[in-house]
């Protein structure tokens, strides 16, 4: 078995590396998506799936064959596929009379279904219909969500999180400024969700920051929300749990006051104040000769008085 707990050990280096990429880690890999068709699909749906696959390349697998399953009723075959291909996102396209041009976006946690949201495609313009040169494969897209519905409605909030997860691509520490070409814009208006994909051109403006001009390249979808299957709260919380090792270690004993001055406490052992090292002034040191002189001085003025 793959995650065999060490009983069956891999016999080659290559298989060992393969198993290591698939095991749970602190910092996870990019999420892969599996794109599959249902029992019956229309031309729109197949073209839509192909276009989203090209958006998500190379972190996606497109299955050619039809799978006669219904994700909302029985998710075991989805879970089996995800285990075999190590994908935690899926997109299931189907078409029937009751739900025409159906797309189900979903994600899995620990190879069990976490969230599933069904969207109906009302209008779809494919990639091939835009006769403009496209962005290269694998560019990290900029994501923009517009519309207050994405904050207000619970289901749309989950949909937003799912779409971010789906389209965001690998997490990189730095990005080339000239390579920020692709923008995916989601608008929620009037109960519908509009997805548009643009290529942004950085034009010269007077100052350092360029002016943006957009031209539409990619597929454009007009989606309507249908059924949803959202994870229960505790499963959702469990899925978000980050291991402690990832949290940045807090440096103790550092505090800042209102002005931003850094403070820290220094802890000392108990000090013997009589043996403290202080500044010494040699002139003020009490010497043996002085003591005698003082006494003499005291007695002298008396003598002087009587004399005068």
């Amino acid at each position: 078995m793959a995650h065999s707990d060490g009983i069956t050990k891999p016999k080659t280096r290559r298989s060992k590396r393969f198993l290591e990429t698939r095991e749970p880690k602190l910092l996870e890999n990019v999420k892969n998506a599996m794109i599959m068709k249902g029992g019956n699909t229309s031309q729109t749906v197949t073209q839509a799936l192909k276009d989203i696959y090209s958006l998500k390349k190379p972190n996606a697998v497109l299955y050619k064959k039809k799978n006669i399953t219904r994700p909302f009723e029985d998710s075991t075959s989805l879970e089996f596929f995800s285990k075999k291909s190590d994908c935690s996102l899926f997109l299931f396209g189907s078409h029937n009379k009751k739900r025409p041009n159906n797309l189900i976006f979903g994600r899995l946690f620990d190879f069990h279904v976490l969230d599933m949201i069904e969207l109906g495609v009302e209008k779809f313009v494919s990639l091939s219909e835009f006769k403009i040169s496209k962005c290269p494969e694998g560019t990290k897209p900029m994501l923009v969500f517009a519309g207050e519905a994405f904050e207000m409605d619970n289901e749309l909030k989950r949909l937003k999180s799912l779409l971010i997860d789906f389209f965001r691509g690998p997490t990189v520490p730095a990005v080339r400024l000239a390579g920020l070409e692709h923008v995916l814009h989601f608008t929620a208006v009037d109960g519908k969700i509009y997805l548009r994909s643009y290529r942004c051109l950085l034009k010269k403006s007077g100052c350092r920051i360029p002016r943006i001009e957009l031209e539409e390249i990619g597929p454009s979808f007009d989606l309507v929300l249908r059924r949803t299957h959202l994870a229960s709260d505790d499963l959702y919380k469990l899925a978000h749990k980050q291991p402690k090792a990832l949290k940045p270690k807090k440096k103790k004993n550092i505090s800042h006051d209102a002005f931003g001055t850094k403070f820290g406490r220094v802890h000392m052992q108990k000090q013997d104040l009589s043996k403290l090292q202080t500044r010494k002034m040699r002139g003020l040191k009490k010497r043996k000769g002085e003591v005698v002189a003082e006494e003499e001085q005291r007695s002298e003025p008396k003598v002087a008085k009587t004399e005068s």
């Binding site: 707990d5 060490g6 009983i7 749970p24 880690k25 602190l26 999420k31 935690s88 994600r107 899995l108 946690f109 620990d110 190879f111 990290k140 897209p141 900029m142 994501l143 923009v144 969500f145 517009a146 519309g147 207050e148 994405f150 904050e151 937003k160 999180s161 971010i164 997860d165 965001r168 997490t171 520490p173 730095a174 990005v175 080339r176 400024l177 000239a178 390579g179 920020l180 814009h185 608008t187 208006v189 009037d190 509009y194 548009r196 643009y198 950085l202 403006s205 007077g206 100052c207 920051i209 360029p210 002016r211 943006i212 001009e213 957009l214 959702y236 899925a239 978000h240 749990k241 980050q242």
Partner: protein, 348 residues
């Protein structure tokens, strides 16, 4: 006059400069009611402003969406351009912060593995792991060879001569002994590894009895059955037996000793019988039985050595020879006695 004119022109210049700057900024500034939420680590921007359905329906949808997208993207680009940049191989690169949006994980975080028996001991004693070099100097070959693996240094298995140590049996096969010892070490290592895994997962391993999912052999099964049978309050005396099951061979007590001072007459009988047998001069050994047993053993060994010979020629051959030699000689004692008598059966 000139001074005033100069002053006017200076003012004009300043005004012009301000105008130009405002124009420049106009190209990249966007007016919005509410500021957008930015997650630059994910290159994400969220616009919470209300979209008036009226505006949306008035214009053509695409143009409205495009204008909205342009504005939002401009704001996002403004944010990204605020990040610190550096130059990496002729490209200007902006350093992104950590992504701020909390997204669910793919798989649960890995559980820390409990330390193995050796790791516990090493921690207790303060033993540090020492990194060993890959290459070791090989005296016989006078070159650097790897510590383990193909063509290793000081390879034990390639010895063509092994000295028989003083304390061991001269007829023992030293090569076979080495191979056997290696197999034992490997098996012991594997066993300890599995024990560590079982301890890590807190799986209870049975001391006697069957492990789940392994291939059970006939003896293991029969042993497990007999152990289960005898582990009753009456030590298995009243347990039902299956129709064709044979009664256990060593049933009940292992040995029964007569009491020291018991039945005198029976003791006397036993002693007299013993004397009679010793006197009879008939061989106590059943000759045919012994000879048959020896022949059977020899056949078995030949078959085993043939199998071994097919599997691994050189390794098998000395073992087979050694084994056979041993068997031959051990049997030889018996057969010698039997054989000698065989030649002259009826003499006595």
């Amino acid at each position: 006059m000139l001074g005033i004119m100069a002053a006017c022109s200076v003012e004009e210049l300043l005004a012009k400069a301000e105008q130009e700057e405002a124009e420049k900024l106009k190209t990249i500034s966007v007016q919005k009611e509410l500021d957008l939420d930015f997650d630059v680590g994910n290159l994400l921007a969220c616009d919470k402003n209300r979209i008036e359905s009226r505006d949306f329906k008035e214009q053509k949808k695409e143009d409205f969406l495009r204008a909205l997208a342009r504005d939002n993207t401009q704001l996002l680009i403004n944010e990204i351009w605020k990040l610190p940049t550096e130059r990496v191989e002729e490209a200007i690169v902006a350093k992104l912060p950590e992504p701020a949006t909390r997204l669910p994980r793919e798989k649960p975080p890995p559980k820390p593995k409990p330390p193995t028996k050796w790791e516990q001991f090493a921690k207790l004693k303060g033993i540090q792991k020492k990194k060993k070099t890959n290459m070791v100097w090989d005296e016989t070959a006078k070159e650097w060879r790897r510590r383990w693996g193909y063509k290793r240094a000081n390879d034990d298995t390639k010895d063509w001569l092994i000295e028989v140590p003083q304390t061991s049996d001269p007829n023992e096969d030293q090569f076979a002994k080495r191979v056997h010892a290696k197999k034992e070490r490997v098996a012991k290592n594997e066993f300890n590894r599995l024990k560590n895994i079982a301890r890590a997962q807190k799986i209870k391993t049975p001391g006697v009895g069957l492990l789940p999912r392994t291939k059970q052999s006939k003896d293991e099964l029969s042993r497990a059955v007999s152990v289960a049978k005898t582990s009753t309050a009456s030590a298995g005396r009243f347990q039902d037996r299956l129709p064709k099951e044979k009664p256990p061979k060593n049933a009940g007590k292992r040995r029964k000793f007569e009491p020291l001072i018991g039945d005198f007459s029976s003791e006397k009988q036993k002693q007299l019988e013993l004397l009679k047998v010793m006197d009879s001069k008939r061989p106590k050994l059943d000759i045919t039985k012994a000879v048959n047993k020896q022949m059977r053993e020899e056949d078995r060994e030949e078959a085993a050595s043939k199998r071994k010979g097919r599997k691994g020629g050189a390794a098998g051959r000395p073992k087979g020879k050694g084994g056979k030699g041993k068997g031959g000689r051990a049997g030889g004692g018996k057969a010698g006695g039997g054989g000698k008598r065989r030649g002259k059966p009826g003499k006595r």
